[in-house]
Amino acid sequence: MKRYLIGLAALLGVAASPALAQDYPTKPITMIVPFAAGGPTDIIARIVSEHMSRVLGQQIIVENVAGAGGTTGVTRAAAAAPDGYTIVMGHMGTHGAAPALYPNLKYNPATDFAPVGLAAGTPILIVARKTHPSKDLKEFIDWAKKAGDKANNAFAGVGSVSHSTGILFNSTIGTKPTMIPYTGTGPALNDMVSGQVDYMTDQIVNVVSQIQGGNIKAFAIALPERSPALPDVPTTKELGLDYQVSAWNAIFAPKGTPPAVVAKLSDALDKALDDANTKKRLAELGGVIPDKAGRTPAALQKLVEDEVARWTPILKAAMANEKK
């Protein structure tokens, strides 16, 4: 059944493509967001697609297809007709960490897509319960090493950004805490605010208000420069910790989408990221907008390949460890 559908989709794509390239787009475009509405990736998708719609002259409709750490939606996008009318907002998890986390993954992030461009990254913060004894990152690292598996590292479920980045953080500082799984950032933060768990790593948009409100502590932000949203939080770079990570979000089209169509989408994304209002709204989220060179399809292709290469060994090692 599935094979038949893919075949049909490919056939339709081939049949439709000649007329497409010049007139594209002639009807609304569906942007699959592989997460529930309201999350960071969804919000970035909605902000960016709003201006892209204006540039393209056709509405981009955001369709949330959540499930299995985002891989359900991305699988559907990979099998869609490559005509530019179905695109997907992938992210660090679906196009970087997924091959290591999901052995039965039905797509290859590096070869099954025509990359359109990087939309925005959201930096990662290392946060802890407000009653935590450590004052700064150095004290915290010492504490975590000493505590070993007595430390509780919360994360928002297997495959989430907080999961991968937490594993990376722990392997960077060389500690093996007890990982406490939650079904989302909300419940995890709730237990951190009430002091049930010690620390976690997560995207700035999820934790910024809790830090500003004094409900949790922030030790460092994994960015080269401080974020204007949290100017008091030092960067891992200035603290001398080799922990540079960002939950990037990027637009992909299915493999075989005509290059002219990809170019139009890429151009629309570029214009959206230059728009003052879009910039302002992304900045409010603590989002980092890529520079001109970082927005191109080629740059995204390289990013995906680098990320898969980076995450696969770390995550595989951590997963193998857990199985023991």
């Binding site: 509405a37 297809v65 499930g67 909300g186 933060l189 709730n190 009430s194 910024v208 409100g213 857990e322």
Partner: protein, 499 residues
């Protein structure tokens, strides 16, 4: 007092023509999606999110909040008229609400649900305004261990939901718990019992299960004996509750409001327990518990009030803490973020107009809902007069659209059809679906909290007894279980002796 100046500010914001209009639209849309089986507030709010881009944040949130609690009002309509719970919180309403409809008292059931909801909504709003912040701190006492014990207590309620055999009810609860274990393992990410079907990797969705087991199964059963259905059509009594009905409902409404309001504050979606807890309490307090399940008005008034009170107080963790207790609230977080307000503990001080404006709008919204809903009762009841051969395709189609709209997935519709078949078989063997749905809803939370609590305690079960709140809840659960089981044991003994 601060409270009054804050409320004055709030009403100042909410009483602009634009915001009243948005509140009305929200309530209207909410009522409609609540009535349509399957289309829930989550899908609706997600679809309408882009429309709010052009609005001011306060107006946008007032409208979205209206959709949410409006859907709670509307949901009871479907539960009462056609025995389909749109959401977990409406499951209980089907028990006595639909029985009342079958006895020609649909109007009274709908009326009392609206009045109870209105009262609960108003009280809960004042509750949020006055006690929101201190209560948040109280709710923070709830860690994974406490939640687990709360869910255990919830499961004990299920034995009371049974109309017939307690034994069968317990079996159904266990079946519900089993169904809840399908999906990805929380800790390891391994897929469990998904049989390689990708849409099962995040578990079975509530809506296809509830639509199938209640909605589709009910349609099949009605088609089997159309005469029974026509009896319902023939008997339509008075449209609105009389003084006697209201007198009977006052105490259940008060108790339901209190129970639902308290459980709604818990940031771990305690609100789902509200209607179940209220129903249990009413049945236990009733002079003649055997009336329950056969159209007792208390069984509608209490849970409907609890449901609405919980829907309102669920805003407390969102507004005071910035932490969403359920999927709808998570969407509200998204909506606020899109509008440049990142919800958190400072929303109250940084955006007081938004915070108090929303609270004031909830009060206005509740008033609107009762005004929208009471006159519509007559219209809804007339729907029952529509011949069933025209009704059932419509119900079926709306169910399918609703189920599809949740994940944009056709497989979910197939699942609903499958569950419908299972539901019909279960009905034939005299098994009630309501305890199963309770087991299913609680099962997911229970497993999650049990494992979190045990990982945190490094595997020690004493954590549930060492923590005072958790121990207290467990004691209540055990006591209730004894109360529920004793009569049936003694009855059986009598039966044995008479033989």
């Amino acid at each position: 007092m601060d409270l009054f100046s804050h409320l004055a500010l709030g009403f100042g914001v909410a009483f602009t023509l634009k915001n009243i209009g948005l509140c009305f639209i929200g309530c209207m849309v909410g009522t409609l999606v609540g009535v349509l089986p399957g289309v829930g507030p989550v899908a609706t709010i997600a679809m309408l999110l882009p429309i709010t881009f052009g609005l001011e944040p306060v107006g946008a949130l007032i409208m979205l909040a209206g959709i949410y609690y409006g859907a709670q009002y509307g949901g009871s309509t479907t539960a009462i008229l056609v025995n389909i719970p749109g959401e977990a919180t409406a499951v209980v309403t089907t028990l006595d609400g639909h029985q009342m409809a079958k006895q020609g008292r649909a109007g009274i059931a709908l009326g009392i649900a609206a009045i109870g909801s209105f009262f609960a909504g108003c009280v809960a709003t004042i509750f949020i305004a006055a006690l929101g912040q201190p209560l948040t701190r109280l709710a923070q006492l709830f860690g994974p261990a406490e939640y687990f014990s709360l869910m255990v207590m919830g499961l004990v309620f299920s034995t009371v939901l049974a109309r017939g055999s307690i034994f069968k009810a317990i079996l159904m609860v266990l079946l519900g718990l089993l169904l809840a274990t399908v999906g990805t393992d929380l800790e390891t990410g391994q897929e469990r019992m998904t049989m390689g079907i990708q849409s099962l990797s995040d578990g079975i969705d509530f809506t296809p299960l509830a639509m199938g087991i209640f909605g589709f199964a009910e349609i099949v059963r009605n088609l089997e004996n159309p005469e029974a259905r026509d009896v319902v059509r023939g008997k339509i009594g008075r449209l609105l509750p009389g003084w006697d009905d209201i007198k009977q409902s006052i105490a259940p409404v008060l108790r339901g409001t209190f129970i639902g309001g308290i459980l709604g504050i818990l940031p771990g979606n305690g609100a789902v327990l509200g209607p179940f807890a209220s129903y249990t309490v009413e049945k236990k307090l009733a002079k003649d518990p055997s009336r329950f399940g056969k159209g007792a008005i208390e069984g509608v008034a209490g849970p409907e009030s609890a449901n609405n009170a919980g829907a309102q107080t669920a805003f407390i963790p969102l507004l005071t803490l910035g932490i969403p207790p359920n999927a709808v609230m998570a969407l509200m977080v998204g909506a606020m973020t899109i509008h440049g307000i990142i919800p958190g503990p400072q929303v109250m001080t940084k955006n007081p107009d938004l915070f108090w404006g929303m609270i004031a709008s909830m009060w206005i919204g509740n008033l609107m809902l009762v005004i929208i809903n009471l006159p519509m009762v007559g219209m809804w009841v007339k729907l029952l007069k529509v011949p069933y051969r025209l009704m059932f395709p419509a119900i079926g189609i709306f169910c399918c659209i609703g189920i599809y709209s949740i994940n944009n997935s056709a497989e979910d519709v197939m699942f609903a059809a499958f569950f419908g078949m299972c539901g019909y078989i279960l009905l034939k063997f005299g098994f009630e679906p309501a305890p199963m749905l309770l087991g299913f809803v609680l099962g997911k939370l229970m497993e999650e909290k049990l494992r979190q609590a045990l990982i945190l305690s490094r595997g020690s079960f004493t954590t549930f007894i060492e923590r005072p709140v958790s121990a207290g809840l467990l004691i209540v659960a055990v006591a209730m279980l004894c109360l529920a089981l004793l009569p049936s044991f003694s009855k059986r003994r009598e039966e044995v002796f008479t033989e």
